[in-house]
């Protein structure tokens, strides 16, 4: 099996180490990976703004990039939900593009689900001697139904202490353009999340979506908070 990486635009631009983490873990497990260089974005920012035509345009490039991929893995819940659930609907029923999109949708996997449900592994040889807590990003949890897989992977990390986060399934307040359109609410929701983080005494908050993490990291930096925020793939790459 050869895994094609769908790294997502935010990871590509801001946190390539997340994608490097995915590659490192797959390497460790003896899974070959490649990176379709034509990939840019899944189109979600346009789609979420109600600009369906623009989303379709970007979506076409996504189809071009991944048309020949056999297995596609992404370290993201929100981009994956976009590509699986909404992307096909951007193209007319019966069209070739729709068929392509549906075919690709069937080959897409979120990273933690890929490890646990497809590769059937939970111990990926990671070691991280710290206390962490896990935040359920909305699209991963409710969009894709991925709840146990990240927790099982964390439980298998050597020397890791993972404590539960209160209201772990409550939205962090990012929400795409919501973060800049309604900053008051976005901030208040983020503060709630950080407050719950503080109560765990964890050194790191871990999540499966870089979007949540950029929002929370941004707030953490402002508050001289003692904790950091890590992507699951970064953590699992540590030895």
């Amino acid at each position: 099996m050869r895994v094609s990486l769908f790294v997502t635009c935010l990871v590509d631009q801001f946190c390539p180490e997340v994608a490097l983490g995915v590659v490192t873990v797959l390497d460790r497990l003896g899974v070959a990976s490649d990176f379709p260089a034509g990939q840019t974005c899944c189109g979600q920012p346009a789609f979420n703004s109600g600009c369906v035509d623009e989303a379709r345009r970007v979506g076409r490039q996504f189809l071009r990039a991944f048309r020949d991929a056999e297995v596609i893995v992404a370290p993201s819940g929100s981009c994956l939900e976009m590509a699986q659930r909404y992307l096909p609907s951007l193209f007319p029923p019966g069209s070739g593009e729709r068929a392509d999109a549906e075919a690709i949708a069937g080959r897409l996997h979120e990273f933690s689900s890929f490890l646990v449900d497809v590769l059937k592994v939970t111990d990926v040889g990671a070691r991280f001697p710290h206390r962490v807590t896990y935040h359920d990003s909305c699209h991963l949890l409710r969009g894709l139904g991925v709840r146990e897989q990240p927790r099982r992977l964390l439980a298998a990390v050597h020397d890791l202490e993972c404590v539960p986060l209160a209201a772990s399934d409550t939205c962090c307040g990012f929400g795409g353009t919501f973060a800049v359109k309604y900053p008051d609410i976005s901030e208040a929701m983020g503060q709630d999340k950080l407050g719950n983080l503080a109560r765990t005494g964890a050194e790191y908050l871990v999540a499966g979506d870089i979007s949540c993490l950029l929002h929370l990291r941004g707030m953490l930096a402002r508050q001289a908070f003692p904790a950091g925020a890590l992507h699951l793939a970064e953590l699992l790459a540590k030895e």
């Binding site: 659930r85 909404y86 609907s89 951007l90």
Partner: protein
């Protein structure tokens, strides 16, 4: 009349709205469509619980702050009603004909009200005004219940010439009488019965009653007794006799 025209307008708009063929682009996450077959719903059958439906009904009703007594015979039921009225220390008791007639025969408990019995056919007085005044003045209303639902401890009252709606509503205390054989497992069984007996055609009001009235509108603090009765007593009789 100008006001009548809107019937055709509303119907035309609805039909036009339904006529549009456009299907939603994205399938709803629910995965359910109107073409899906109805799923059989297995209600928890309280009859299976220890003690059967009477026990289930009693427990569920008590959870809703009703005070439930289970007695063996109609004589014992009558006695129990007397005890309840004595303990409430009341002077004015209203008894609905369905509780006064067979098999309950609780008419002798009616007191504090000298006006003659009213029937719905009475044309000579303002029935409504008298009925409201009478029920408002009463301290206890005693009525029968047509059914009980064992899963939620709910009584089902059916308005009729013998069952007066205000008797279970205006007085601050309601005493309800129900036969164990009229307890049903739950809503599906109730609607089956009502359908078979044309309940909706026969009764202008079928009222479910579960516990006394309540509100939590201030600070979500539960308070028992708002506009409806403040206390609900239920007497369940195990003896089988049709009224």
């Amino acid at each position: 009349m100008a006001l009548d025209d809107q019937r055709d307008l509303v119907l035309a708009r609805v039909r036009a709205a339904l006529g549009s063929r456009a299907a939603p682009a994205v399938a709803s996450r629910s995965g359910v469509t109107s073409e899906s077959k109805p799923l059989p719903i297995a209600f928890v059958a309280p009859g299976a619980a220890p003690g059967g439906m009477v026990a289930s009904f009693t427990q569920a009703a008590e959870e809703a702050q009703a005070m439930v007594s289970v007695v063996e015979s109609f004589d014992a039921a009558r006695q129990r009603v007397g005890e309840i009225l004595a303990s409430e220390g009341v002077g004015r008791v209203l008894v609905s004909p369905d509780a006064a007639d067979e098999p309950w025969r609780c008419g002798s408990f009616a007191r504090g009200d000298d006006a003659p019995t009213i029937t719905g056919q009475d044309q000579t007085i303002d029935v409504r005004r008298v009925r409201i005044a009478r029920a408002e003045a009463a301290e206890v209303g005693v009525t029968a219940a047509t059914f009980g639902l064992a899963d939620t401890g709910t009584l089902v009252l059916c308005a009729s010439p013998e069952h007066h709606r205000l008797d279970s509503l205006l007085p601050p205390v309601h005493v309800a009488l129900v036969q164990a054989c009229d307890l049903l497992p739950g809503l599906p069984e109730l609607f089956d019965r009502l359908s078979a007996e044309q309940g909706f055609a026969r009764h202008s009001a079928i009222t479910f009653v579960r516990g006394p009235s309540r509100t939590a509108d201030i600070e979500l603090t539960l308070t028992i007794g708002v506009h409806g009765p403040c206390k609900l007593f239920i007497v369940v009789v195990e003896e089988v006799r049709r009224g």
